[in-house]
């Protein structure tokens, strides 16, 4: 006995006359004639990215031209191309440029690291500084400063090892259970608190001089960053960001849940592992060269996603947003608080703290609504 099917109730009959199909997806579609190549260009993300890039270039220009010694744009360009006066050359190429490159790269690295983690965990708090990676880096750095009395490079290596080890430990703690969002965040926060205690203990064991140095590192700063730091983070960003951008499409699919993503042909476990490695490496390198800089990783992806109104993790605008935020913060502490030698971490901490409060207030309102 075959059931009665009330067929045409829900489905509109296909209209053969209506050949030009309505546009169903957002963004521009670019196709080559042979259909060998077809791309979807998210218009709003491209626009936001362009504006952010313009802002970043302006910020970089201001950073290079202003300060204790004002330089004209021409002088800066001459210095950069190697034909400037010795004074301008020193100011631009030795003092300002490495700091600027470090800031831009660290900002981008932290933002993308946070963007990946927030997307993987499905949680706005899933950020490397909240779930302990940054405190892990701090343990590594403080150990080098206080116990081993190492150089700046050794401190960076210590921070790198500390961050990676913490990430490995957190991953092991949730192993076998999948990298489920809430679990990762909660365990990460626990590990973070534990590591904070270790840091406090290390500082109590330090001499006054060591404690000062440790405290300076812990605030996160771009002061006195030279080409060795700029090159290290520059190479890390050049290698890791393209990998992250390539994996962004899969990341967008994983956001829909493991079952749905697998059903649509995404190797979820492999994608998560790859992305987590990229995320951890970016955060560890950034923290190694600049110390812990709070809240860029937390705030930049959220702001970028709200601006682009993108339904996918918009990693390119996120990277630009991180670079803009950190460069602007650094410019602010350099030019507005000239005498205080305020570390940039203080500025991002203030901005980020306000942002976090706003986020929590609006999110809780939304969930109550």
């Amino acid at each position: 006995m075959s059931p009665v099917h009330r067929a045409d109730v829900t489905a509109a009959p296909p209209a053969p006359g209506k050949t030009p199909a309505p546009r169903v997806v957002s963004g521009l579609v670019v196709r080559t004639r042979g259909a060998g190549l077809s791309l979807r260009v998210p218009g709003r993300s491209v626009a936001v990215g362009t504006v952010l890039l313009a802002v970043l270039i302006v910020l970089m220009g201001v950073s290079l031209t202003t300060g204790d010694f004002e330089l004209s744009v021409t002088e800066v360009v001459q210095a950069l191309t190697g034909s400037g006066s010795p004074g301008a050359d020193f100011i631009v190429n030795t003092l300002r440029m490495p700091r600027l490159v470090t800031g831009v790269c660290v900002g981008a690295a932290l933002a993308v690291s946070g963007g990946i983690l927030q997307s993987l965990t499905g949680n706005a708090l899933g950020s490397p500084d909240v779930i302990g990676f940054t405190n892990g880096s701090a343990v590594g750095a403080l150990t080098v400063i206080i116990v081993l009395h190492g150089s700046m490079t050794q401190i960076a290596i210590g921070a790198l090892i500390g961050g990676l080890a913490t990430a490995a430990a957190v991953t092991l703690l949730i192993a076998g259970r999948g990298l489920q969002g809430f679990r990762l965040v909660v365990i990460g926060i626990g590990v973070s608190a534990l590591l904070l205690a270790v840091n406090s203990y290390l500082i109590t064991r330090a001499t006054f001089q060591e404690a000062l140095e440790a405290q300076a590192w812990l605030l996160g700063s771009l002061n006195n960053r030279g080409w060795s730091q700029a090159n290290a983070i520059g190479i890390a960003v050049l290698v890791l960001l393209p990998v992250a951008f390539l994996l962004a499409r899969r990341l967008a699919m994983v956001e829909m849940g493991d079952l749905t993503a697998t059903a649509l042909g995404v190797g979820v476990a492999r994608t998560r592992t790859l992305l987590l490695v990229v995320c951890v490496a970016l955060a560890a390198f950034a923290t190694a060269v600049a110390g812990p800089i709070w809240f860029i990783a937390l705030a930049a992806p959220q702001v970028a996603r709200r601006l682009t109104r993108s339904s996918t993790p918009a990693l390119v605008p996120t990277a630009l947003m991180g670079a803009v935020l950190l460069t602007a913060s650094d410019l602010a502490v350099q030019r507005l608080f000239t005498d205080a030698l305020l570390p940039v971490g203080a500025a991002t901490g203030t901005i980020g703290g306000l942002y976090l409060i706003w986020l929590l207030v609006t999110e809780s309102r939304k969930s109550r609504a």
Binding site: M1, S2, P3, V4, H5, R6, A7, V9, T10, A11, A12, P14, A21, P22, R23, V24, V25, S26, V29, R31, A35, G36, L37, S38, L39, R40, G122, L246, R249, A252, M253, E255, M256, G257, L259, T260, T262, A263, L264, G265, V266, G267, R309, S310, S311, T312
Partner: protein, 290 residues
């Protein structure tokens, strides 16, 4: 039931042992999904019917036995290749915040796309067709967050249809929907099965809906074993329901379709004194105060 004389169906579960961590849900479970059937899996809570569906969709690796798809172990395929042959609508999926209906349905094309082939003409045709068939084409610019539960379920169904797989697995597609939307979704599934020749496998809770829509019924009992399989009209008996669900009932003909209709037996409680064996409504009295 898993006789070797008939040619192997596209999708078959062969002697599966299914476990979550250390808890064993089923052992020796074998089910054939007849090609071009609308197969419905029913059974009491926690009998492993959703677990079986998960195994069929390669979401759960069996401890023993194997799921076979098109003559080969499903585990031997690349996951993207499976996604071109078999679609799954899980019980719950997360729509990315702010995504539009069109963009969400378009994600069903993922297994057919490449990094530099993100939106071909075929993708567009498939998505428009899937949206037309589920009646969500007019909603394509609307954010999924704004839709009602029934509309949202049709959007997810459209996404799975856009995947253009010959086999569709649906895990309780009617949960959280009111009765009108349940029927709407089931009608749609029946239409896909009847018109497009899709093989549809659904886990359902409602026995009467299962009997009405299924061409092939798989009844599971607690412990993850199959109690009966076949055409609902042949399979559905009062004894089976008593055996599997522990529920006394009568089976009558559905007045609309003639398919089996399960009517639970009324509990034989001692009649309340004041109504003399009749319910208040039957006695023409206002609802009794307790």
């Amino acid at each position: 039931m898993t006789g070797n004389r008939t040619p192997e169906p596209r999708l078959r579960a062969d002697n599966l042992t299914l476990c979550y961590d250390r808890r064993t849900v089923a052992t020796g479970l074998g089910v054939d999904i007849p090609d071009h059937s609308f197969t419905v899996i029913v059974g009491p809570n926690a009998c492993g019917k959703s677990t079986l569906l998960k195994a069929l969709a390669r979401m759960l690796r069996p401890k023993a036995g194997e799921v076979r798809l098109d003559g080969a172990a499903i585990a031997s395929y690349r996951t993207r290749e499976v996604a071109r042959r078999l679609g799954l609508l899980p019980q719950s999926s997360t729509a990315p915040g702010g995504i539009t209906v069109g963009d969400l349905v378009a994600r069903g094309r993922y297994p057919h796309q490449r990094l530099l082939k993100q939106w071909s003409a075929e993708d567009e045709t498939a998505v428009v067709e899937a949206m037309r068939r589920t009646g969500v084409l007019d909603l394509s610019d609307r954010p999924v967050d704004d839709l009602s539960g029934g509309q949202r379920q049709r959007v997810w169904l459209a996404m799975v249809l856009a995947q253009q797989t010959p086999v569709l697995l649906l895990d309780e597609p009617t949960t959280f929907l009111d009765i009108a939307h349940q029927i709407e979704v089931l009608d749609l599934c029946a239409e896909l099965h009847a018109r497009q020749g899709h093989t549809v496998v659904a886990v359902l809770h409602d026995l009467n809906q299962a009997c009405r829509y299924a061409t092939h019924l798989v009844v599971m009992r607690a412990g993850g074993t199959v109690a009966a399989v076949g055409n609902p009209a042949d399979v559905m008996t009062a004894e089976l329901v008593q055996d599997v669900f522990g529920l006394p009932c009568r089976i009558i003909d559905d007045p609309e379709t003639g398919t089996p209709l399960m009517v639970p037996a009324a509990p034989r409680r001692p009649a309340p004194d004041d109504t003399d064996g009749r319910s208040p409504a039957a006695a023409g009295l206002p609802a009794a105060r307790r």
